[in-house]
Symmetry: C3
Subunit: 373 residues, 3 copies
């Protein structure tokens, strides 16, 4: 009898040990704060530079780290931020015509609010002046531009405008907001699809009504999940720093509301959006960078009174729960589409620092949503 019992115990034990216990606590056993810290710690241990430690991928990631610190006050985030800023000498990347290269300054601005005389904001100011106020390859000042507008691809609306709004907030210099608004509208006019209420990634994907229009197999327009994530995520970050009485504030609020409503309609029942928003069957699995940015922006909208809580809370709860399952037991956030400019698939092992950043942004607002209860 004892032998029999022992045997059944052994089976039980083995299944439990190699299931729940095998690798230490499973990610699903972490609470949200633990999951977020684990994501950051894993990412810090796997630094990745597409171009440089100041490139846009790190810019996005450290936006997430900044918001995570703001939401949790956990010093591990701030330590990572300050180490990064110090090592980067508080410099943006060098291409002053390219919105990507100022993305990292969002975290410098944030760090500057945590301690006086630590952060050198001069390189950020110089970059912004060259980007917005002086003639460069793309901004059309002086009449010449190689591109249709300064921010000719929708990703740019996440990379530069939140930095500009934040810089204007800290310095009180309204001229930066005016320049931002001018270029923002140009991009909107170029890429926003009034029917679908979504952004084309760039002019290639804007239909001109002829045979060359790029279509998905199902005949739909191509709307890239992460691309729209850049826009709506950027809107939340802009609004976070825009003065309450800024004359064009409602423009940004309305756009966030419009996009949120559309995204709610096309959320997949498992909570995550597909990389091709109107052709989910192309790559029929959830993707983290787009979904994380949506979750962040919609939760921000709820937390800041722009979006109705009853209507939108189920959207982000479902999304966040699904995002949590995309993190493995070591902290790595997978299911992130690789660097690109159009819908492509991801898998459980495809991670990127900007995916971790989107995860942290989403988690930060979800924590606030829970606190508001």
């Amino acid at each position: 009898m004892r032998l029999l019992i022992k045997k059944s115990i052994c089976v039980l034990l083995v299944s439990i040990l190699f299931g729940a216990c095998y690798a230490g606590p499973k990610s699903k056993e972490w609470n949200d704060k633990q999951a977020m810290v684990k994501a950051m710690e894993w990412q810090e241990q796997h630094p990745i530079f597409a171009l440089a430690p100041t490139d846009w991928t790190n810019g996005v990631y450290y936006k997430g780290v900044s918001e995570a610190f703001r939401a949790t006050n956990d010093q591990r985030y701030l330590a990572a931020l300050k180490t990064m800023g110090y090592r980067n000498d508080w410099k943006p990347l060098h291409r002053t015509h390219h919105a990507d290269d100022i993305s990292i300054s969002y975290s410098y601005l944030f760090i500057s609010t945590t301690r006086r005389n630590l952060v050198d904001l001069k390189p950020t100011k110089d970059w912004l002046d060259k980007h917005l106020m002086e003639a460069n390859e793309w901004n059309g000042i002086g009449g010449e531009s190689k591109m249709p507008t300064l921010w000719w691809w929708c990703d740019a609306l996440f990379m530069a405008p939140p930095v500009i709004a934040y810089y204007a907030e800290l310095t009180g210099e309204k001229k930066y907001l005016d320049a931002m608004h001018k270029y923002y509208k140009e991009t909107y006019d170029l890429l926003f699809d009034q029917e679908e209420k979504l952004f084309a990634r760039d002019l290639r994907y804007v239909w001109k009504g002829n045979e060359k229009d790029i279509k998905e197999e199902n005949g739909q327009k191509v709307f890239w999940s992460r691309g729209n994530g850049w826009v709506i995520g950027g809107l939340a970050l802009i609004l976070e720093h825009l003065p309450a009485d800024y004359e064009h504030r409602s423009y940004y609020e309305d756009l966030l509301k419009t996009m949120a409503a559309r995204l709610k309609e096309i959320q997949h029942e498992d909570g995550l959006w597909r990389t091709s928003l109107l052709s989910p069957e192309s790559y029929n699995h959830g993707e983290v960078s787009g979904s994380g940015l949506y979750t962040f922006a919609i939760a921000w909208g709820i937390n800041n009174g722009l979006l109705d809580k009853n209507e939108y809370e189920p959207v982000v709860i479902k999304a966040w729960e699904a995002l949590r399952t995309c993190q493995n037991d070591e902290g790595m956030v997978g299911w992130v589409q690789n660097i690109g400019d159009s819908p492509k698939p991801a898998d459980a092992g495809s991670w990127q620092n900007y995916g971790t950043g989107a995860f942290l942004l989403a988690g930060s607002e979800m924590l606030k949503l829970q606190d508001n209860k």
Copy 2:
């Protein structure tokens, strides 16, 4: 029957799995050497710069790493030291009037003893010369000083003098010891309380016998735990490098013995000292940075024949056991008071690199104490 048993097993299992096994081995299951390495590995994965990688916080931490390598010969410590030194270009921080900024050189001096022609000690020498031999803002050479003395706050006695004693030991240049002794005594005369046998943090806390004297709520003087840790910990490091026949050696030995006797009296029964030494009720919990430095210095005193083993061993055993409980299962050493200049509270999640350093210093001498058995 089998079902019943299975059920009880399940309860048992769950409680055990989520207790002892849940997150891998608990910190309390590590031996002292494992606990120390885990602390260092965690800290290396969470670099933190108050000002720079060469600031005093890192100076303290890498003093701990140096002593840990000396005590264990575990190459992981030496690898961390050499990487840090190489990345810092073997430079102290830049303010040559400020004792904090030479603290990091202790580890450079140590690394230089492990391999020839690796470490550049020129920046350390230049810094020390400007600090001690040439006129600067604080040292009073030339007659002018903005401060009462060069080392006008007690923390300074940990930051600079051990580096000076070590540099004098390696170069044989006695003039550095003489300069050290001159300034050390000035600080002692200014801040040491002959009644309480403890150091005021700085002149603000030295009573002048009038209404403006700063008191704790219980009417006692304010003696900051970490501040006194800086002094007695610094004494052990100074004595480690002071020639046996140095004319003022007994001055430092006597001071260490005097302070150790006083600290023994006011140790809390749980083994750890409170941040306000004479007002334990202010923040009634153990604090790691002060307690770690005391444990280090007293154990050093026992190991080097200054303190009676029968009398003091129980003090440090109790303290070290309590310090070990302040480390979490990931290796993080908590209960460290944040950067400051007077007693303030800490909690399980408050970590700092200098707290890890104090933990490593304490552990290093505890290992030697165990070896001496």
Copy 3:
């Protein structure tokens, strides 16, 4: 009765928890790919510079990381490679006469194949030109040399020639191959023992037939395991990049075959070679850096049709299984002989980045061997 059972369960539990489960999954439960990634992740968390981040030890390690990425396509390897290259500014170490200092460029060349316009190969080209084409301290151009030949110690055959072959492959410039072959042969003529089919580490170990000849206690010549690992490992890397129609290709192929045959004869029954190849009793335990390099080279020989699969597969399977047991549960690869130039012992705690590199090289070819099944 229930109590009795509970007791036996407790014993069972404790033994299992503190055995299999204690520290999370044991290294022996990882598959080969997991074991390799864990080794890399552990090494990245323990950076070690003998001289600099561009020294030969890192050169060897990142050769391993490069091959691991080639074999698995796991982005974690590529992220580590790019971060390292960026931080090193794509520069070799500075001594242009010393083969060690170009070893790191192998990884730069590899990274350059993964993305255009990312890697600056100019410093590598300049270094190679000074090493091979212009007079320096050791290469004998101009008639003067302080050494018998440029690559006067067998380690050099791993450090420089694979970089040269790879550079010639990527640029198509055959003159580098010709220079390589000239110096390679000089080293071979100096150090290869035609009787034993092994390389002396340097001229000190080449017998001249007089009393001064250095002997092991058993009377045998001294053949250093890692030293021969450098040669045969280097041969695999050279052949990987040598044009199929290169006129001297068979010279390198024959040498790899000759050495493989000899190493097969002297493999220890536990799968690992001893640090003194002909005097295994000197330090009678397996050593990872030499054994890893042999496993890599022999598996490469099988995978590329140079060595008979039936004959050599058992050799590398046995070796790889034994190498896997030298990795601890945190990922650390132990049993690596420290930096040196002759046989010395190792132990479970002796790790080095080049040991991790040898482990990754071995694993990479073992994965390909398994895929070829």
